[in-house]
């Protein structure tokens, strides 16, 4: 088991399947899957439409440990209907978060002085395009239920989002990820609301060419999101790298982690609105215009630069905005 876990660590996060990611993110041998394949919780809607079903409905949920912390983990499988959220999939996601919060309540009731490093945390590996259109109403409702659970976790259980899968994190799940306390991405991770294909379909190829992969990545990819401050950490594409960043965040107190989020207080919303105004004023034609504004004199170089060099040299818009506020 341990050797198998060791082998997982160097694996590409992008290329790994949801279950492998889950196993590798938590401490060796500590993962217990809940509502797994043997429970056969397949979608009730897909068979009616003649669509293939999966025993876990495209999401792995369970509990593991990172150091002393119980980790309530959900890992979406991008290869099953693009990781889309159907009724069962959404129920599993909402309930693993609910379980984390209920465990928190029980643990704190038993020991009000329980050290922070032993308290539950939620980790969600997103790999999804949002609502599963085959069961759209149930899928939308599931989004709302997940958001409810996020809200109930406020002040109690930190929620960390990981984005580094093939599908990225789009649609309604883009909102959900943005509501997490912290987001870890790889450069292959993509985060957004409306996916590139949908933008092109709605507004035309002149507005956004979804087949231009370089354009897609510099608009939705991890490197851009890091500059924009939409993600807190940008890591190498390996399970170990995500795990290391995760451990670092989880070593902080709840308040420190909650402060990392983009939303969650009036002053944070005001900051976000300032950025919206700023972007409207800049009226950038390309992500690179924003990168330049953030202080990157040769934005073109940032695209292909090795990641460690990128992290050393990149100027983030978040820092630039801080300077402006201070000055």
């Amino acid at each position: 088991m341990s050797r198998q876990w060791e082998n997982l660590q160097s694996r590409s996060f992008l290329e790994s399947r949801a279950r492998k990611r889950a196993l590798g993110l938590v401490d060796p041998g500590s993962f217990t899957e809940l509502a797994g394949p043997r429970d056969r919780l397949t979608s009730p809607h897909l068979p009616v439409l003649g669509e293939a079903v999966e025993f876990d409905d495209g999401i792995v949920t369970g509990v593991g440990l990172i150091s002393k912390r119980p980790i309530f983990l959900a890992s979406q499988e991008g290869f099953f209907i693009g990781g889309a959220v159907g009724e069962v999939h959404g129920a599993k996601l909402a309930n693993i978060i609910r379980l984390a919060r209920e465990s928190f309540d029980r643990m704190l009731a038993a020991d009000p002085h329980l050290p922070e490093d032993k308290r539950p945390a939620v980790v969600i590996s997103f790999d999804t395009g949002g609502v599963r259109l085959h069961e759209a109403n149930a899928g939308l409702l599931a989004h709302a239920e997940v958001m409810d659970q996020f809200q109930d976790c406020k002040g109690k259980v930190p929620i960390i989002a990981l984005i580094g899968g093939r599908v990225g994190c789009f649609g309604g799940m883009g909102f959900v990820a943005a509501a997490a306390d912290a987001i870890i991405m790889s450069q292959f991770g993509r985060l957004g609301l409306t996916g590139p294909e949908v933008i092109e379909e709605e507004l035309g190829k002149e507005e956004f060419d979804a087949s231009d992969r370089a354009l897609v990545y510099r608009t939705t990819g991890g490197r851009h999101k890091y500059i924009m401050g939409d993600c807190n950490a940008l890591v190498d594409d390996s399970i170990a790298a995500f795990r290391t960043a995760l451990k670092e965040i989880l070593s902080k107190t709840y308040n420190e982690i909650a402060a990392m989020g983009c939303i969650g207080s009036l002053s944070k919303v005001e900051t976000q609105l300032k950025w919206v105004n700023l972007c409207a004023k800049l009226s950038p034609k390309d992500a690179k215009d924003v990168w330049r504004y953030a202080g990157n004199e040769a934005p073109e170089d940032l695209v292909d630069m090795p990641l460690d060099l990128y992290l050393k040299s990149v100027k983030r818009l978040t820092d630039r905005c801080k300077e402006n506020q201070d000055g």
Partner: protein, 109 residues
């Protein structure tokens, strides 16, 4: 006519059966052109019971041959096998079934 998923059931027996020793094994993802398989130990007098759920019709005989070959070559016995298929080709089916078993022996080591 309304579309629906199709279920195929097989009961097979290897020429030289060897027990499926593990409790269960799950492998694969139901991506496009792919499948998942769930093996579970079941006392079936040396036989193997297979249930396939697939959107595809008209390939019952191909499924039987692929599964027979897998059962005979691996000697798997006393197991229930459930497959969720999404248009996997016979080659992919054979590959995934064998990968599932080899992953099991890796875990033991």
């Amino acid at each position: 006519m309304a579309k629906h998923l199709h279920q195929l059931d097989f009961e097979l027996k290897a020429e030289t059966p060897t027990n499926f020793a593990a409790d269960f094994q799950h492998y694969g993802v139901v991506g496009s052109g792919d499948m998942e398989v769930l093996f579970e130990h079941a006392e079936l007098d040396g036989a193997v019971r297979v249930k396939v759920v697939t959107p595809v019709v008209g390939y019952d005989e191909v499924w039987r041959r692929v599964l027979e070959r897998f059962v005979n070559e691996t000697g798997i016995a006393n197991a229930s096998i459930e497959i969720n298929d999404n248009n996997a080709t016979p080659v992919v089916v054979s590959l995934r079934l064998r990968q599932a078993l080899s992953e099991l022996s890796n875990e033991g080591g």
